[in-house]
Symmetry: C2
Subunit: 436 residues, 2 copies
């Protein structure tokens, strides 16, 4: 059978990894796919750098549009990133009837609905396993492996940079800014780390998973984002004393009233496997109504792990190349005419447990006032500890609540902060037991 010709756009870290995997595992891959898959043409601005990565036999161009337009290219692999140039190129590739494999989470989270609609019209596939959690085959698990289930929720550690920082903060008792500098030195964090540590990256990935899990359109613009840059090491320590780890969690949940879609630091019980996912590793915890909880763990980034997902997608697309479109797996898991318009809940309407840290003047009555205000807002307490008073006779009260709507917690916090005996702002972190 004729080889499959790959047109690669972007020969950076993941592009170079993809070239390496296609070459190194060529025999293994063709034994599986039933035909040769070869890198045919690649586009990169820096041609010399690209030549080093792809070897002598691949045509190299500096204009990616030439890849998209090349009549002999079967599958276009987009590894440029961002949602400007990449978007035009992907749309043009689709218009030209080419299948697309991409690792571009931002492109899909922001423009996925449009891109998938165009692909549907043209009968081509857009595969994106590498866009979420690097090499972990979580898109495949959600779209196909768990297709018998009504998915109830997904909780993911899906940003390696943030997880590295939180792991170091806990293990070394260091501050956010000290660990961030170290992560930047090690190459685990960008010079501008906003995208990772403020939850944008995790939000893109979560929006994609939510669409696939629940059969809804991509709605990144409605995803709640809260990062880890304001986390105080003290709260990580107190959480640990209470049997919890703090993780940047991407969480989406189907409720009676709509879909929760939120990224924020969260306390997770240390007995949960996912609480023990450390360093730059990723993990996604999925609850289906039939299967119960399942976990998928692996490298969420890096040249070869991400290339593993890119090339798996290439093999998948190759297998289905001549199959008629209606027998392929739908892009968003559900048939395009079967998407539902479930509302995304505003953050005030979500339900969670909470960790509250309250600075209080150490005098009689303050605890009674706080617990009264919680009770008045319908919040019941699961645990309460008072941390040793400091020299100025103030104390810290740490409270873990049962599940309650966030707006009630906000109301209670407002009232607590207004108490004379309370000092400063109340620190509030969400807490997820992940056992429902």
């Amino acid at each position: 059978m004729k080889p499959i010709n790959i047109g690669l756009m972007g020969v950076g870290t993941v592009g170079g990894g993809t070239a390496t995997v296609l070459k190194r595992n060529a025999e293994e891959i063709s034994r599986r796919a039933g035909r040769e898959i070869r890198l045919f043409i690649a586009a990169n601005r820096d041609l010399a750098k690209a030549r080093e990565a792809v070897g002598p036999d691949v045509t190299l161009v500096d204009d990616a549009m030439q890849v998209v337009q090349h009549p002999e290219v079967d599958i276009v692999v987009e590894l440029i990133g961002g949602d400007t140039v990449a978007k035009s190129l992907v749309l043009q590739a689709i218009a030209n009837g080419k299948h697309v494999v991409t690792a571009n989470k931002k492109l899909l989270a922001v423009h996925g609905n449009e891109i998938f609609a165009r692909a549907q019209e043209k009968g081509v596939m857009v595969a994106f396993e590498a866009a979420v959690a690097g090499g972990i085959p979580i898109i495949k698990a959600l779209r196909e492996g768990l297709s018998a289930n009504r998915i109830e929720w997904i909780a993911g550690i899906i940003n390696g940079t943030s997880n590295f920082i939180l792991t170091e903060m806990r293990e070394k008792g260091a501050s956010f800014s000290d660990v961030l500098s170290e992560a930047q030195r090690l190459g685990y964090a960008e010079a501008d780390p906003t995208f990772d540590v403020e939850g944008h990256d995790a939000g893109h990935k979560l929006s994609i998973m939510a669409a696939i899990a629940f059969g809804i359109p991509m709605q990144f613009d409605k995803c709640y984002l809260e990062g880890i840059s304001k986390l105080d090491g003290r709260d990580i320590r107190y959480a640990e004393e209470l049997g919890y780890r703090v993780k940047l969690l991407g969480l989406t949940r189907r409720t009676e009233h709509g879909i929760e879609l939120r990224v924020h630091p969260a306390l997770i019980p240390e007995r949960q496997l996912i609480a023990n996912v450390n360093g730059v590793m990723n993990a996604v915890y999925v609850k289906g109504d039939a299967i119960g909880p399942t976990l998928y763990y692996g490298a969420g980034a890096g040249a070869l792990p991400t290339a593993s997902a890119v090339v798996a997608d290439i093999v998948d697309v190759t297998r289905l190349l001549t199959a008629d479109p209606e027998h392929r797996v739908p892009h968003l898991a559900f048939q395009p005419n079967q998407l539902k318009d479930l509302p995304i809940l505003p953050i005030e309407e979500i339900t969670s447990s909470y960790y509250l840290r309250i600075g209080a003047a150490d005098r009689a009555g303050v605890l009674a006032n706080i617990t009264r205000l919680l009770a008045e807002n319908g919040i019941s307490i699961e645990a309460l500890i008072q941390k040793g008073s400091t020299s100025d006779s103030s104390a810290e009260i740490v409270i873990l609540t049962h599940r309650v709507k966030e707006k009630h917690v906000n109301a209670a916090i407002g009232a607590i902060e207004a108490l004379d005996s309370v000092v400063g702002k109340v620190v509030r972190l969400r807490m997820e037991e992940l056992n429902d």
Copy 2:
């Protein structure tokens, strides 16, 4: 589009679960698959019991051959188990041009090569996600999700009964036989537990995974099996003191000289996620050359989790019903003409680290003799602890070795047991760091 008609053979635990999932999640499933999937006919010896499980609308018969022969059945689901009746039925279904979904690990591990060859000839699919690790989509991950990788090894906790027993032995300090009785009372262990606790069940599952991972035929007859019934609680305790957990592991590894294929209790470092998989849960740890280590965790048994895998297979088969056979995923991941005849290594030829417990008369010179005998056999020591002498002045010496061929350890053990100062048999457990 015309609904897909399912013919179910065997309405026991998993069969009942399959009926439940197909019915309860009918909307979700057809939104994904693009057409209705309905339970059309079911066969069970006990018709009254089956009627309760499948509801009033499904045709019921007491002869499974009627399912296989029914002209309107598209997909036959075999949930009878065993490899006698089930084998004839599956082969007849294939001969009749019907696709098959099965959860039958024994059938495939023992007769898989024959069954897949027949299916290949007839151009039908035999799907078997439910045969390994219950609902966890590990077959899909290995065959498709990791298709870019050269798989290096797989280590799985793939027998829930054994994992429950080992978890209880560790947490309660109880003996194997006490916990087994409890497991039988709870329904986690059969009246005759041999199949589970002696490693047969794990061996079936491991043989299937090895075939898919390495592109080799099923070779259950060459799988080394060692169960947990002879485990002494003392060794679980000592292992824990040294930072390890004891798990019944199914391990298959590609080496320069052939494939290791073995089921036995093993010490795993407690920092590994898989060491923390407890109770009846399953997990499979897979190392690919590109992706690195990945873990898949979930319920390995039970009505609904196993049905989750059965129904996911039904959806997969439905999607590919009209696709031409050469564009389907090959049964064993690799194209049938691309299987390799890599040798399965005899257990003496495998390489592992080892835990040795040696009863010794507590007198000068014994340690020197033991360490000399290890050195003479090329075995280097990673750790050595001496456990407090008991009243009769004997001592226990616990040694952890570096990696070495098993035959050298066996030779050393023979020599050590021949020492005058050594009491009784040397206890030997394999130890897997799972970090290579």
